[in-house]
Amino acid sequence: MTAEALIITLLVLFALNAPIAIAIGGASVVGILVQGDFQMMVMAQRMFGGTDSFHLLAVPLFMFAGALMEAGGISRRIIDLANALVGWLPGGLAAVTIVSAMFFAGISGSAAADAAAVGAILIPAMKKSAYDSDFSAAVLASGGSIGVIIPPSIPMIIFGFLTGASIGQLFAGGILPGLLVGISLIVVATVISRRRGYGATVPFSVRHVGRTFRQALLALGAPLIILGGILLGIFTATESAAIAVVYALVVSMAVYREIQWRALPKILIDASVTASVVMFIIAAASIFSWIAAIEELPARLAGALLALTTDRVFLLLLINLILLIAGTFVETTAALILLVPMIVAMLPALGVDLVQLGVIVVTNLAIGMLTPPMGICLIVAGTISGDRLGAIAWRIGPFLLVLLIDLMIVTFYAPLTMWLARMVAH
């Protein structure tokens, strides 16, 4: 009875277009009322408990670092370097867009915001070089959505928070799948570009690479600190995020001098608001996952799926399908909190490591952001390029196809994730 009330209220509030956090919180409140064993005060206790976490401090801190890197010229120098490295390919700008979008997608934690930031620079550049604008938008959307599997990644932090998986191992596990995805997207973009005759932006030259590399040297310090510190097991994700913020502050204010003191409040305020959007969903969903766990909803749903099949390949495919559909309609954080408990309940039957499961889950939700009709990255890219959703949805096809192939590799070839993940101290 409680489970039905939870799910039906949730769907009704989603349909009424209430903010996702409020729909989830509202459904939980109805669930507590129907269940009847607890005082309503528990809702406040759960919302507080859900946000009172040292791990989750990494969410706003990475967002601060990303915002500072973007405003302070660090992002631009890294894009310049990417241009020198892959700009000589046919359709070089498309490759640059994919590399940059993937690189920045995890940093601010909002794939849509990062796609918007990279797209604001590169979509006009592609249009100027006579690329079709619907193709440009498709390139941006695919790189921007899938980038969350490359560390640092807010969805992975949330997966770690939910399941107790090591965030450092999740980050390490995402690196090789991220490279696989990046390379395959560039291959698709290059093939399409060659067929359409899009040229290279710049000829390849070692001197050009060297010059942009020198200019980006300090800028590259930020990702190096983030990755190195976590992968070597020196810092926690939260600590490395704080160091990255301080580093980005020093480089952009004292060395590049691209951020003035008086511009600082707005940057921090806007990043705080983006962070609290994610955190508020976590707060509301903490009530939901608590009452759902009391009603053993995740275990019952998992049982229902296991009744369909116990074959591990079919189960993995089924989970992938559920996650892809959820990722298309529901914001990533909410989808994680609603679905991960059910999926983890099936872990023994799936025969994969918890860390690999995390990478599979995040990859799925990322692809969901790209899938018509609702994918948020698709919508953002279309808004920037000024294309109708229908036009981009058509262009996204080849990219989506190759991402699904990559997803199958990530799902069924464990070493791709686990080889690096095992090297990180737990």
Binding site: L13, F14, A15, L16, N17, A18, P19, I20, A21, I22, A23, G25, G26, V29, M40, M41, M43, A44, Q45, M47, F48, T51, D52, S53, F54, L56, L57, P60, L61, F64, I234, F235, T238, E239, A241, A242, I243, V245, V246, L249, L264, P265, L268, I269, A271, S272, V273, T274, A275, S276, V277, M279, F280, I282, A283, F329, V330, E331, M374, I376
Partner: protein, 166 residues
């Protein structure tokens, strides 16, 4: 009508002013959070002397930033939604939908105000382990933020309704 207009303008003005104050406090909280976690890293790894209070304080700041930030996000209309069929409605239907969503939010935030205050009262005697501060001071952000979002939602509903009549 004059008195009514004054009241409506007053709600809008209050919502704007409180939001400006909350935005400034977000800057303060964000800067403090960065400083505290950075200091924790510095003390632990450079001075080899861990701070005992930094982790707890940073967590409490996160709670405050989450709920106060959510009020600004509400006013800016950036909390994500699932826009399944809003765009298929006409302008009147879309407005009815927006007002309905605000009312749903007000019902939930109203509960957060009541039960958040009740919870803060419930823990009134508890002291935080590291900082030794009363826990209700941290919990207070729940009802406060709930009230601020209620105000923003009310201001939004009032301005939607006024557009209809004019």
């Amino acid at each position: 009508m004059m008195a009514e207009d004054n009241l409506i303008n007053g709600i809008g003005r209050l919502s704007r002013r409180i939001n400006a104050v909350v935005e400034q406090s977000l800057f303060g909280l964000g800067a403090l959070m960065i400083a505290i976690v950075a200091a924790q890293v510095f003390f632990r790894y450079v001075l080899n002397h861990s701070l005992f209070w930094s982790e707890e304080l940073a967590r409490y700041i996160l709670v405050w930033l989450t709920f106060l930030g959510a009020t600004v996000a509400y006013r800016r209309g950036v909390h994500p939604r699932i826009d399944l069929f809003v765009h298929r409605l006409g302008p009147r239907g879309a407005r009815a939908m927006r007002i309905g969503a605000h009312l749903v939010a007000m019902a939930f935030l109203g509960m957060l105000v009541i039960y958040g205050a009740q919870f803060a009262y419930f823990v009134r005697l508890q002291i935080s382990p590291a900082l030794q501060i009363p826990k209700w001071t941290v919990m207070l952000v729940l009802p406060i933020s709930g009230m601020i979002i209620l105000l923003h939602a009310l201001a939004a509903v009032v301005s939607e309704l006024r557009e209809r009549t004019s």
